[in-house]
Amino acid sequence: MMRIERTIKYEGDRVRGFAKEIMGVPGCEQLQSCIQCGTCSGTCPLSIYMDFSPRQVMALVRADFKNEVLRSHTVWLCASCYACTVECPRQIRITDIMYALKQRAIKEGIYPRRFPIPVLAKEFFEMVRRNGRITETLLVARLFLKTNWFAALGSWRQGLGLMRTGRLGVWPERIQRRAELAAMLSAAESGNGKPKETP
């Protein structure tokens, strides 16, 4: 039997105000003037793997289809190469919009499960918060553990190579004034909710 699915969207599917929220993020203002030309998708090296092309993401955001956008793989496939941003004939900073969408997805916890990219982002975030610096090896190790430790087995040869060439650091890199950094980050965090209030 052929499986069929209704694809129609109702007004109730829209999350009113989502477009406005995204366009209010620094760097995302220009989204309003998108003409759906497809240059972003055409230049994007990863659009060929996306469930919605970057152009479609722009259309979905502008029409308040929040759930559809945040559930899509597209934002997580963006490699931040900025090709779309540079090429866009309306100077829409598409990469920045992708960032804004990633932030929303992480904040609201709507992203594909066991999908390594958001996990990487969060692990990275935590490691920097703790140490002030990144030790790539440890980061990758944690990533594998959290997502697909099986895959780690597949790349043993690569690991060996890196070990041979002396590129694997196993001692965590740290900054000295970690308290200073922590103080900064907490100050930023506390004011994050209402950024307009300045001391």
Binding site: I35, C37, G38, C44, P89, Q91
Partner: protein
């Protein structure tokens, strides 16, 4: 005409226009009328739906009679729009038309503010100023200046040609000045024209010949306007005639000299064929060139450059003796009453978008190059071929090259959709190739244009909606080997496609001419921010400029196709004729004058006048203003240390009272 000099007994009528909802929506018109009614001197104060309508004007006429008004103030739109209308109404009521003052509460108030209270207060303040000012108005007479009936047309493209012919056919003498050696412009390069597919040469050449043959047209090709002085009705124009090194009167266009040139083969890129063929230093731009005479390229000709050449061209010309190496640049002065500027456009340089590979990949060509390829008198005699001579099996046409892009040109070039569909049809006609058009939106809004789009679809031309991201020569699939590959999102299908092509055609858009800014200054015109010449009003005065007697036609005003260019040219010609046939120019009486008794003879005004209207009378030791020459800028008025220079319509008292009025608390 009844005049009323006495300032003591002013009886002012004040009228505020609702302009439908345009003003009344933001300004409380009734409140303004009530406020004005209380001001000293105001006898009648009314608000009315449309003051510019016949009943509105009638209201003024009636009030002048019934209430013995001797001053009228109308608060409505910009004086640049309707001052004339209301002055006429005032005159019709039996009053000198200059006993009138207009208040701009639409463009300067209701349309630009969003706070009703503030907008109403502003309207009151501006009204107050006008009421105070109009008290000082005096009866004035317009002066009439005879108009020089000849017309200068600058630019010999289709717009300039059409304007010149229209005027000439009406019996006006026309000077047509063209920078290139031949008239014809861009249209001469086209093979066919959309949407009828009639041959461009077949419809243009007769008009070009008509220009040459017309007794009322003086054609100066290879010439440029160097200087413009004067004003509407009386321009003095200096035209620079570049040396062609060929006597136009003597040359019969036999082209023997070209064959006789010491260069045996063409060596230099041929401008008319956009570099697709080569020409010699002596050449004729194209077979149908008008004037049909040769020209010598001073940068390439050995004789002109070095003085050392066997001059075999002279031998070829023999006893016609048309070739003349002694020619020098010449400056000619002409007097005209009107000027039509039709200087056209420049094609966008496709190299500015490197991702399309123009200049890098030989088989990426521009639309105008394809136009020459498909033309039977073009470099390939009408064969559409790749650089290696093979016919293409697949052709991709990319639209909006340089257009609709904030990084290059924001505007839509308006003609490329239709132009590309025409080329697509011609490619289908001439070759077996598959043609794909890559577009963002197809814009086919002219008569017969949508039908042309339909025809293109029916002929099997493919349309892919998506702005092409890049053209490359690297293959990721076997069918891509040796081809140019377009990467584009097919936005209607919703995925990215890679499409191999043999030939890629770039529909480069239109830009203002490189020297548009200089030309603009030359003729005292304005430019929009993009560089297109600015019309006086986008709807109601589309071919007029802010300088009276200077009109614009064709693509110098903005991208447009041939029908629109021709229509504009006709309109410009009609505007010029309207002035000529009236016979005189009515001058706004805003001239400066000297109260001789107060003049101290310091002469500081004399050098200020750009029109040399101020002379110094040594005998009296007083300055004197020639009001016929004065254009009414008022610079001398502001400069006069003794206050003896005054300006009609802009008297000091009038302005001081206006200042007082706008600052009045309301």
């Amino acid at each position: 005409m009844k005049t009323n000099q006495s300032n003591g007994d002013v009886r002012i009528g004040f009228y505020i226009c609702h302009c439908g909802h345009n003003i009344a929506g933001m300004v409380d018109c009734a409140a303004v009328a009530q406020y004005m009614a209380k001001l000293p001197g105001v006898v009648v104060s009314r608000d009315y739906k449309y003051m510019c309508s016949d009943p509105g004007q009638e209201l003024i006429r009636q009030d002048i009679r019934e209430h013995q008004l001797n001053r009228v103030v109308v608060a409505s739109c910009s004086p640049l729009l309707h001052e004339h209308t209301f002055r006429k109404a005032v005159a019709a009521g039996g009053l000198n038309p200059f006993y009138f003052q207009m208040v701009n509460i639409r463009e300067h108030d209701s349309w630009v503010h969003s706070d009703r209270a503030a907008a109403t207060a502003k309207a009151k303040a501006l009204g107050n100023a006008a009421v105070r000012r109009v008290r000082f108005h005096r009866a004035l007479e317009t002066t009439r200046v005879a108009i020089q009936p000849d017309v200068l047309v600058v630019g010999g493209g289709i717009a300039g040609i059409h304007a010149a012919l229209t005027l000439a056919n009406a019996g006006k003498k026309v000077f047509l000045v063209e920078r290139e050696p031949s008239i014809g412009g861009h249209m001469a390069q086209f093979d066919k024209t959309f949407p009828t597919l009639d041959c461009a040469a077949c419809i243009l050449t007769p008009k070009m010949s008509a220009v040459r043959a017309h007794e009322n047209i003086t054609l100066w090709s290879y010439s440029e306007v160097a200087k413009v002085e004067g004003y509407v009705g009386n321009y003095t124009v200096t035209v620079k005639r570049k040396p062609r090194y060929v006597n136009e009167e003597l040359c019969v266009g036999c082209l023997e000299c070209i064959a006789g040139c010491v260069f045996k083969e063409g060596k230099f890129p041929d401008e008319f064929n956009v570099g697709l063929s080569k020409r010699k230093p002596i050449y004729i731009p194209f077979p149908q060139a008008v004037p049909p005479v040769v020209v010598i390229d001073p940068e390439r000709c050995l004789q002109v450059r070095t003085g050392k050449c066997k001059k075999t061209c002279l031998e070829a010309c023999a006893d016609r003796k048309a070739i003349d190496f002694t020619q020098k640049e010449e400056l000619v002065e002409i007097k005209v009453g009107n000027i039509i500027v039709a200087t056209g456009f420049k094609l966008f340089d496709a190299k500015r978008i490197p991702q399309y590979g123009y200049g890098l990949y030989p088989n990426v060509v521009t639309a105008i190059e394809l136009e020459r390829l498909v033309n039977s008198s073009g470099p390939t005699a009408g064969e559409i071929v790749l650089r290696d001579g093979r016919p293409p099996k697949s052709v991709g046409i990319i639209l909006c090259v340089g257009s609709r892009d904030v990084k290059t040109n924001r505007w839509c070039s308006r003609t490329c959709c239709m132009h590309s569909m025409k080329l697509a049809q011609l490619v289908r006609e001439h070759t077996e190739a598959d043609v794909t058009v890559f577009y963002m939106d197809i814009r086919a809004p002219g008569k017969g244009y949508e039908e042309f789009y339909d025809k293109s679809l029916k002929e099997g031309i493919q349309f892919v909606r998506g702005r092409v991201a890049e053209v490359t020569d690297w293959a990721l699939a076997p069918e891509e080997e040796g081809k140019l590959v377009i990467r584009v999102e097919d936005t209607l299908a919703g995925f990215v496609r890679r499409m191999p092509m043999d030939m890629i055609v770039l529909a480069a858009g239109m830009e203002p001419q490189e020297d548009a800014q200089q030309v603009r200054r030359l003729f005292n015109m304005s430019c929009g921010t993009e560089g297109w010449f600015l019309e006086k009003h986008p709807k109601l005065a589309p071919v007029s400029t802010f300088t009276d007697g200077v009109f614009i036609a064709g693509c110098c005003q903005g991208p447009k196709d041939i029908p629109d260019s021709v229509a504009q040219a006709g309109a410009a010609a009609a505007e010029a004729m309207a002035l000529i046939d009236k016979g005189y120019i009515e001058q706004e009486p805003n001239t400066a004058y000297i109260v001789e008794a107060d003049c101290c003879g310091c002469k500081s005004c004399v050098p200020l006048c750009p029109y040399k209207a101020i002379a110094f009378e040594e005998a009296k030791q007083k300055a004197r203003i020639n009001e016929a020459l004065c254009k009414g800028c008022g610079t001398c008025v502001a400069a006069c240390p003794s206050g003896s220079i005054r300006q009609n319509l802009f008297e000091d008292e009038e302005i001081f009272s206006e200042i007082e009025g706008v600052l009045a608390y309301v």
